[in-house]
Amino acid sequence: MSKESTSPFDVAVIGAGPAGLAAAVAAAERGARVVVLDAATQPGGQFWRHRPESVEPDPEGHGHHGWKTYLDLRSRFDAAISTGVLHYLPNTQVWMIEREDAGRFVLRLTPATGTTIEVPTVRADKLVSCAGGYDRQLPLPGWELPGVMAAGGIQAFIKANGTLPGKRFVVAGTGPFLLPVAANIAAAGGKVVAVCESSSLTNWLPHMGAASGVPGKALEGAEYAAIFAKHRIRYRTRTVVTKVVGDSSATAVQIAKVDASGAIIPGSERLLEDVDIVGFGWGFTPQIELAVSLGAETRIDADGSLVCVADEKQSSTVPGLFLAGEVTGVGGAVLAVAEGYVAGASAANGEQPKTSTARQIQRHRRFASAMHQAHPVPEKWDELLTDDTLICRCEEVSHAQVTEARDVLGATDARTMKSFTRTGMGWCQGKVCGYAVSCLSAKGTTDENAQHASLTSVAKRPVATPLTLGEISTLDSREPHNL
C-alpha cells in the first residue's frame, strides 16, 4: 500500500477501539478514503481486546459486553479494507501531528513494537482522534512493588492472554469498572480476596434518575451481583487499601474504612494476607496529548480528568479535528461507539447527527457524569502518603521531595514541579503520575484555574510516544502551514 499511503487521505482515525472502529466505518461507508492508525496489533481497543487472532481466529467474546456490536463493526471494517477505501495500520503509534498548507494533518508514525515502520508519515484532510485512555492512578505506600497493577491492566492481561497474572487478587479504587475486572478474574479461575470501593453505594441514590435513562446498566449491575455471589467476592464499600505490603513483590495489603472525605477511620485497619496481585483503578485518564498539541480546547470533566471539548458533531475547537470516545470524557464503550459514528460521519461529509443519536449520546453523558459524581477520588487520598512513598515511579521522586519543592521552592503547578523534582520527566512522560502531581502541587492554592492549568501542562507531551533519533533523522519535511 506504500504508494497509496503517501497520497493524502480524506480522513485519518487514531485508534481502533470502540470509538475508532465506529468512526472509521462511518467515514468509509460515506465514501471517504480512510486510514486507521492503531498501536495494538488487532482491532478492538481496550474494551474489545481479545486473544491474538493468529491463535484464536474466531473469538467468541467470552467475558465481553457488546461483542455483537464488535462483530458487526469488525465485519464492516474488514469489508471497507477489502474494497480498498480503508487502510488499516496496526502496531503503529502516532507520535506527533503537524499541519501543513490548507490545514492538512501530517501524522508522524513509529512502530509500537519492533524497530521498523513501513509508512512513517500519513497525511489527511480530516482527523478523528479516538485515542482512548489508561487507568488513572493514585500513589500509595508500596504501589511500586511488582504484583501491583492497574485494574485495567489486569483486565487487558486476561483478555489478551487468556490467563491470569497471579492467583489471589485484591481490586481497589473507585468506580463501576472494578466490577467487571473482579468478575473476569473470577471467571478465569482467580480468587478475588476483596474489592475495595472508596465510595459508598448510597452515593448513587441522588443519581438514579440519570441511570434510569440507560437501562442496560441496571442489567449489568444485576449480572455482577450474581457473579459476586457465586464466587463469594467481598465488595467492601467506603474501604481503601492503605498500603501494599511485600518485600520483592506484593504479598498482602492493609485496608481501612474511610469517611466521606476519604479520611481513615481510626481502628478500622486490617491486613489481608496471601495476596499476589493488587489492581488499582481510580477511573481513567483520557489520552489527549495529540489533540492538545493541535490546540484543542480542554475542560475538566466531572471525574476531574482533563478532556477535550467537542460539539454535537464531535468537532473539537480545532477545524478539521474530530474527537470520540474517552478523549471527550470517560463514558464507556457504548457512548464511545455512538460518538465514533457521529465523528466519522461529520469528518466524512459534515453530516449532522440524527436527533435520536444526539439524544442517546446526551443520555449516556448524563449517566457517565452521575457515575463520576458517585465515585469521586477521595478528597483526602494523599493522607496515606508517607515521606518516602514514590510519587513518580519512573524517576523515583518521593512524596517528601514533592512537598519540599511545593512548600519551599514554590512549585505550585505540575510544570514547575517537573522542573524542580523531575516528576513526569521519565519514560512515561507523566502519564502515570500526572494526575497525582497536579493535585499535590496545586494543594493549598485557592486559584480555581490552578488544577486546570496544572493538568494542561501534564497533557502537553510533544513526543506522544518515544522513537529513535534515526527515525527523526529521516523525517520528510512538511510544507509550512501558516496558522
Binding site: 521552592l409 514554590g410 512522560q429 533519533l469
Partner: protein, 393 residues
Amino acid sequence: MNAPSDVIVIGAGVIGSAIAFFASQQGLSVTVLERGLPASGTSSACEGNILVSDKELGAELELTKFSLDTWRGDLAEHAGHWEFESKGGIIVASKESSLASLDRLTRAQGEYGIDVERVDIPRLREFEPHISPDALGAAWYPDDCQVQPMLVAGHLLNLARKNGAKVQVNTRVTGFVRHGETVTGVTTDRGEFHAPAVVNAAGSWSEHIAALAGVNVPVKPRKGFVMVTEPLPPMVHHKVYAAEYVDNVGSSDAGLQSSPVVEGTPAGSILIGSSRERVGFDRSVNTEALRQMATNAIALFPFLEKTRIIRHYHGFRPYCPDHLPVIGHDPRAPGLWHASGYEGAGIGLSAGTGKLMGQALAGLATDMSLAPFAPERFGEFTPNTMISQESAA
C-alpha cells in the same frame, strides 16, 4: 498598597533570582515580581551549562570568567542545591574547515588565559569512547561546568527570601510608576509596587518591559529545541559539541541554524541540541530543526541512531543583536535597571551578574566594569525600533 522596598526585580528566572539573592545579601530589601511561577520562562527551557569554551574573546568572556569564580566562590556552599558539576567540555572538529576554526579559537583562548587543551584522537576516545570515527581533532575545556538551572532559580529565590526578600508570583508587571522622568515603581495586575530601583530581568520579554518605560532594549527571542533521550547507562561523559556550534552562536542570521551539542546528564538521559531561529514566540514544532539536530547528533555519536527520544522542548533565548547582554542602570529612564539579553549563556552568567548588580544597586563599586553592557548603547526610542511584533507575545 504594597510596602515599598529598595529594589523591585521583574522576572524570577535565573537572572532575576540571582540579583534578588545578591542584592538581599547587600542588605537591600527586595521584591521579586513574576507573572508566572519561579523559572517559568526560558530558565526552565534550556540546558545548564556554564561554558567558557563557546565564547569569543571580549567582554562576554570576561563576564563568564567572573561568573565562574562566583559560582565556585560566593555560591560554593550552596552548590549541592543545584547539582553543580565540573564536568568539562569538548569541542570536536570533523571537517577540515572546522578544524581550522578550532585552531584559531583555541589559540586565541589560550593566549587569553582560558584553560584549553588540544587533544588528539586517541585521547579524545579516552574522554568519549563512543565518538564518531570521523572526528579529526578536538579541544578539551576542563572549566566548563553544569548546573540544574531551575533549581538555581528556585534555591536562590529561597535564599533571598531568607534574607527578607519578597517573591510575588502570578503577578504581571503592566507599566511603570514615574515621578517626572524617574521610575519609582511598577503597576501590576495585583496593584502598585514602589521602589527607587526597578530591575528589568524579564529575559526574552524584556524588550516589552523596557518599552513600557519608553526605552529601547532590542532583545528578541531566539528559539531553540532540545531533545531528551531515554535514560541510558553513561555513554556521553562531557558536554560535546561540534566546532560549527561556535560559529552559529555568533551568527545573527534569523533563519534556522543547527549544530550538534550532545551531553549526558546525571539522570541518564542525553540532551541533544541545538537549534537557533528567530521566529518570534512561535511555539510550533519545527520538524526540520529536529531532523537536522538528530542527523548532526548521530554524526557525532553514531550509537544515537538507535537511541530513542522521550520528549523535546524549546525555549526562547533572549537574543541581543550585538550578542552582548544589557546590564546596568538606564540613564534614559532614571531608576530603571536592566539585566537581560544573555541569549544562550544566561545560566552561566547569572551568578556573576547577580553579584555585580548587587554591588551596583547597593551603590558600591563593581568588581568588574559594566560599561560594555550599558543599556544606553541602543540610543533613543525611534518609531522603527518600536516594540516589534516578535516581542509582543
